[in-house]
Subunit: 354 residues, 4 copies
Amino acid sequence: MSTHTTTPIKAGIVGGTGYTGVELLRLLSQHPDVQLHAITSRKESGMPVADMYPNLRGHVDLCFQTPEEAALDQCDVVFFATPHGVAMEQARGLLDHDVRVIDLAADFRLQDVETFAQWYKMPHSSPDVLKEAVYGLPELDRDRIRQARVVGNPGCYPTTVLLGLAPVLQAGRPLIDTTHVIADSKSGVSGAGRKAAVGSLFSEAADNFSAYGVAGHRHHPEISECLARIAGAPVGLTFVPHLVPMIRGMFSTLYLRILPDALDTDFQALYEQRYAGEAFVDVMPAGSLPQTRSVRASNMLRIAVHRPAGGDTLVVLVVQDNLVKGAAGQAVQNMNLMFGLPETTGLQHVAVLP
Amino acid sequence: MSTHTTTPIKAGIVGGTGYTGVELLRLLSQHPDVQLHAITSRKESGMPVADMYPNLRGHVDLCFQTPEEAALDQCDVVFFATPHGVAMEQARGLLDHDVRVIDLAADFRLQDVETFAQWYKMPHSSPDVLKEAVYGLPELDRDRIRQARVVGNPGCYPTTVLLGLAPVLQAGRPLIDTTHVIADSKSGVSGAGRKAAVGSLFSEAADNFSAYGVAGHRHHPEISECLARIAGAPVGLTFVPHLVPMIRGMFSTLYLRILPDALDTDFQALYEQRYAGEAFVDVMPAGSLPQTRSVRASNMLRIAVHRPAGGDTLVVLVVQDNLVKGAAGQAVQNMNLMFGLPETTGLQHVAVLP
Amino acid sequence: MSTHTTTPIKAGIVGGTGYTGVELLRLLSQHPDVQLHAITSRKESGMPVADMYPNLRGHVDLCFQTPEEAALDQCDVVFFATPHGVAMEQARGLLDHDVRVIDLAADFRLQDVETFAQWYKMPHSSPDVLKEAVYGLPELDRDRIRQARVVGNPGCYPTTVLLGLAPVLQAGRPLIDTTHVIADSKSGVSGAGRKAAVGSLFSEAADNFSAYGVAGHRHHPEISECLARIAGAPVGLTFVPHLVPMIRGMFSTLYLRILPDALDTDFQALYEQRYAGEAFVDVMPAGSLPQTRSVRASNMLRIAVHRPAGGDTLVVLVVQDNLVKGAAGQAVQNMNLMFGLPETTGLQHVAVLP
Amino acid sequence: MSTHTTTPIKAGIVGGTGYTGVELLRLLSQHPDVQLHAITSRKESGMPVADMYPNLRGHVDLCFQTPEEAALDQCDVVFFATPHGVAMEQARGLLDHDVRVIDLAADFRLQDVETFAQWYKMPHSSPDVLKEAVYGLPELDRDRIRQARVVGNPGCYPTTVLLGLAPVLQAGRPLIDTTHVIADSKSGVSGAGRKAAVGSLFSEAADNFSAYGVAGHRHHPEISECLARIAGAPVGLTFVPHLVPMIRGMFSTLYLRILPDALDTDFQALYEQRYAGEAFVDVMPAGSLPQTRSVRASNMLRIAVHRPAGGDTLVVLVVQDNLVKGAAGQAVQNMNLMFGLPETTGLQHVAVLP
């Protein structure tokens, strides 16, 4: 419960039937400064949200509404938990009503509209809004997010890879061979969403492990564009995502070749300093082995830095909950910044373990 | 490898893209007396079966074919691993070409066509074929199966409940209160098939347990019809199926009230005698606690008989692999009987544990 | 964060290395009116709690302490998350220092010391404390818990069975045949605790389903004693627990035979009325099918009432998180009552789904 | 069933209570040319094997015996499914009775006894036997295995990494930068064995993903020694193993930097040619994405070769069942070679999917 007497933030959600939608509802319904105003789903309009998501019974009384009924332009902020391509159609109209927009899909992640068109198989319909949109990774761009009217919430994989690489790329001197960075990433199945697809069936995904998207994954250009921005030059990235038989959780193992001149770097200290004061990035003590469950249902991302046998390969291990820090939690973190709230408001849930 | 010089059985499969289809392929491709002749799927025609099911690479060279290409009337036996309603359309034509038919769906399970129509939402289109069809539970009706041209392969739940109840119902004297029999059954998710349905998604079914079909399940009338046949009178059954976060496996816990006059019965002995000599029913020693994994990927069904605190409630525990003894394995067992082979041919795989 | 200016409750935990211990820590560290004072583990003394449970990093700064260091007699309340037999040794000493005691093991659950000795293989060492102990099921005995100095926190299975049966047993007139009540219960593996036991290994429990304790389970006498209390006479119970390959979650399917004179009862209404106003018991709408994940990591227990085919068998479905409402959450609920706080304080987390 | 009239191979197993033990029993009990002679376990002596492993009921009638009772010197071959250090104590005695030895632990894997002592914390007690021992990876050293009296069966990880790298290292010309080879490997939990360890508990390993052994893993020196042998020079390897919440299955993702002069290599063809004719190595078509379940319970290992965006990084994906090709199946494959049987005898089980 909130103690302040300030007016709560009126929040709307477009397309709340998927996993990022229900996770937003879980977080926002417990957020002390938010009032849930509306949640839309044309297909499910009229159905109580809690009928689809029984965990919300007693916490969320809203019904799904059509966009017409929802009066989203009365909101302070609207989250898009929709397929790619929806937010860019509606953002301009909301901005004109002074509504902030946070898109959990890809519409405002890539500044390069051609890359967007290539990977998402549609032209970008709102390049002017895109221009003012900010990539919503607070640990990299907090100040711009505070001022933003439109935020492109990062993809789940990019969040782990970018936060795992930023310290070595922003160190002020060359530390690693940026022509050959390897990100071997592993995701729980909820990353594929609530869409009925054969590959996401229990009997297909359980007791099984596989790679996918080896020939190309949409998060690759997103990571690359951001890496270039923070490194000041293109970074050569090999990115291989894998599917893990677990619901939530994401684990990225990054392999970096340390430059000969940088072999004396104290990488543990480098990472600790880079993220000192960050509420949601935990650089674990040297030698730690992070587990995805240590962040389950929380907004924390944990990093461990290793250098096997003291050699010239740096191994960075990064874990997060793909639905929280990798999606809905980060969106709320961005909202907090955009509305001048303490960044951690409503996001301090302890991870659920076991 | 088979040692006989006899001509192999030419087998066809209609609709082999689902889990019972691939399981039939796994079993038949290792069966010493079977030659796989064709497998049909209109939708996937032309695709190598092993592309869809990579476990079959190197074992099955067939491609899916359209029914027209498949020339199923040249088979000795055709298995239908199709949705309900397909086999009854095609059985007559195959019989006319002297092809045996084994349907793994429900078309030939229920003799009462009205009950069929009520539960499967379609009229029975082939009542004359139905009349000669035999319910394919070998341990209950072996001799008739040997003579059958058409077999309705039992549902997975019915196999466990019927084999778990047969000894007390066929004992020759009243042993239990047949007005209140309770079957609390639990199934792995593969029982729902390979259909892309939200409820079968990994992220929905994993780390979760639920009941379903409490108000009514299609296997209920199937069990009831058979129970009436073997008991000689209607049996009052409460049947509640549940979904377990595992791929394969089925567990039925049966609760029976022992009649006052039958309290001195040695139920352990009764079950052991009833199934003495059965290759695929294992009555475990008194006190045993069967596990589904003890039959994973095998055609065995195991039973344990308990009488808690020596009271008047009999608890019967039954496990099977729903895809083998509960579907494809039992179909092969029926085929063996229909073609005069030893019943265990091609079915003696040891269960995979762990 | 709490808004009150009252002194927080100083809480201690004895034996916090198990799953109920870490779950207590998760809940208490987020409770607005609690100050964690100490957590003991002789074996792990000196180790930061967050090293064993990395989800607590940043939330709990305590180290495990020896009982000597912990100064538990300065607490307002001490939780015992210990093996059976520990709390009864230490309760008297704490009471003498005006410390409230909540035992999550079995020491104060059974009033019959002979039954205790028979099932827990040890004599009860503190029968005088036992006499004043209250069985901590708030929905059944809220007023006595408010006054209690010692609470025996219920077992996980008993919570589901007792709350599932209470409405029909407390209806004021005979509704069901109390000589033959059946509870078919299913538990996630965390119920077995964090003890290294072969049967709880991933490779043993995953992709598997089994029954256990059919010949007798410690929760049986606990349920029976309470049932007799609320029904005013012994209730004949058959209780069969099963192990589900999931971490958290408990599901009890109860089968009750409705008495001929009670066939006109509106059981849905009966349950809704019985639990009207209860914050942690959710009687779902008629026809509902509860899922364990709908209460994952929350203190909610959900009930659905069915009467298949309108017959004389009542099927009651009950779900809870075995570590929350079945253990640590209920303990905190009891603490809230004992200290005059609103019963829901610190317990309103939305369940985590998916 | 075998058709030959030759005397069966008498096989013994030392220490058959673990997962490699039961898997050996599953395979050997279905092997047409093997007679199971004895299985030892001092701790479980007298217990029927099928009581511990109910999947073997009806297939294996043996009881565990003490080594004294087992008369292993009458065997033709003895498998050691024991902890490290046991086989090297007993091998000499068996060889003196003309018994072949196949050790599934590490005693005869490393030729360098100092490396052995360093990683296994014990001196090698039988260096003379070690000298004649052959590393049992048939696809690399088939001819020597045929002549061997003692075989060190490879570790599970090394099997995937070595078979994944052999084609590029044995190509006859330099293809990759051998100073920086990366193996990101993932294993199911059964790889940790049946030992009661907290980290292998269901509630610890399920719905979780973690790395381990980043600072050093025993399979690292084993891989390195073999890589040096086949490459003719040391290979710089970074090896990071991870734990996947599945029972069986292993997946290695290998990252190799192609040398500038080798960029025109057709790696797909290279791999296909290298493994042409191999029964248990399946080089999948270009673009394939192997899944561990495609080899579940089978002796097959599948490889896919990728070159993302046609660049200079080669990504090799390798899957196997860690208990079969990674342990017991490979041991049987070695036995077949040692006794002049067709290499595939008893090993042609189709993988179990789903």
